[in-house]
Symmetry: C2
Subunit: 179 residues, 2 copies
Amino acid sequence: MSTTEAIPTTESSTTKPEFGVSGRKIVYDKDGKCRTCNTLLDFQFATAKKSVAPKVETKTIPEVKSSYAQDEPPDVTQLGRSSWTLLHSIAATYPETPSNKQQQDMKSFLNLFAGFYPCWFCAEDFQKYITKHEPKTQTQDDLGKWLCEAHNEVNRKINKPEFDCNLWKKRWKDGWDEE
Amino acid sequence: MSTTEAIPTTESSTTKPEFGVSGRKIVYDKDGKCRTCNTLLDFQFATAKKSVAPKVETKTIPEVKSSYAQDEPPDVTQLGRSSWTLLHSIAATYPETPSNKQQQDMKSFLNLFAGFYPCWFCAEDFQKYITKHEPKTQTQDDLGKWLCEAHNEVNRKINKPEFDCNLWKKRWKDGWDEE
């Protein structure tokens, strides 16, 4: 998604903005808002209680970083980063020659993960991907590469650079210093 | 684990240190090391190729932070933080009145998660916890509180402060500003 799109400002908090301060399209759900589908700033912008929605040029939305106990719920970016960290790490420690049960369990795990993923928009997207590209769970390397490709599909959609999947083990398993 | 414990220095890299520079006991696996079971510094300390292991007082272990494509695999702390972020967020968007299938799926998901968790030491611990305290999946609040208590059990073990589970929704679902 281009970050140079014009971001409309509104005069009233009853208007549901289409784009957020990040330039991304705001994702709503049936309850009217989706915290885990948007960046924090966009979520605050979309749900602003103020009568005049903040303009982009002035940072009127405070980012409160208080004590550990008052950390805010994660936004879509934090949730995505956390989830990919876990998934790729799971692949990195998956057996190199898994049993049939382990292969089946991994498919079940990925399907359940896709069903429970907290961002509904992202979850549906991942479910469609899995339907189209069945998870490869026969070996550790198959799984690692399949996950890397799934991740690259998301990267393309959100205009992030793709990762060279031949390097997945360096990034997620062995590090870059190993010879 | 106390952070004031003496940390032994060694003269040779062939010695497997018992404690790391963090003060935590180093966790090994059958291959001799476990990246995802230790903090990064401890892992580097335990697998140091140098002939003289670094002393605690001098920071001789470089922390290389290079480009995105050369980020290192996560250590136990990053993995833990990422995983709890995902799990608590999943609870926050779990249905308030789930169907029987959803309740069963959630139990399956948690069991599979515990089986595939990248840190073997942590995984076994979580599996024992689940065996002793069956996941409560009847409502969103049950699940959120069960997960919070599971997390507090880990916090106690690693000397971190416990979280007040009555506040779990503020932390993971609604934020702290909601009235």
